[in-house]
Symmetry: C2
Subunit: 112 residues, 2 copies
């Protein structure tokens, strides 16, 4: 039965069902981002941010790339569930203002 696939979909949706992770994905849809930027944006402890990113990485939704001392996270557009995530994010308010705010604070690290 196709219930295995349904279950996989549900797992991805559960990951999206947290406002921090949903916003993270919204941000990554616009641009890659490093951990310390997420910390500034969400005003959340660094371990809390790391743990959210770990979940997204374990699901294969994001990938990491070390750039010097920073670890830059980006969307994994090859993931089987990426099309669903993209479609979900079309219904979610744009997170662009958060990048703008980051830039205004002089806290921007990763540039495109």
């Amino acid at each position: 039965m196709g219930d295995r696939s349904l279950e996989d979909n549900a797992k991805i949706l559960k990951l999206l069902g947290d406002k921090t992770r949903l916003a993270m994905l919204g941000l990554l849809m616009i641009n890659e981002c490093c951990v310390c930027e997420f910390v500034d944006i969400f005003k959340m402890s660094q371990p809390a941010i790391s743990q959210h990113l770990r979940k997204l990485k374990d699901a294969g939704l994001v990938k990491e790339n070390r750039r010097g001392q920073w670890i830059i996270y980006s969307l994994n557009r090859e993931n089987a569930f990426f099309p669903m995530v993209r479609d979900v994010l079309k219904h979610v308010p744009s997170q662009e203002e958060k990048f703008i705010w980051l830039e205004q604070q002089g806290l921007r690290i990763s540039c495109d």
Copy 2:
């Protein structure tokens, strides 16, 4: 900030992030359905089913209609998040086989 709306989106996605509720919505996208049919389909206790439906109803995603002794649940297509739910379900395997199975078992109640 638009974070209130983001949070609302996340709440809906959290509801979809459970395989039983996700399948329920997939079924309701095809046809309305009563509680006892859900019980047969998911082979789950009646209170468990009722509690899942309650959450979907509290979020405004489904509505109920009494038909005699049965309470028939259907999608609330007027809900602000319905378009997102519809788009999500496009990425989820069809639940139609569950209705077919129900019919084969002679357990179908609600007809369209």
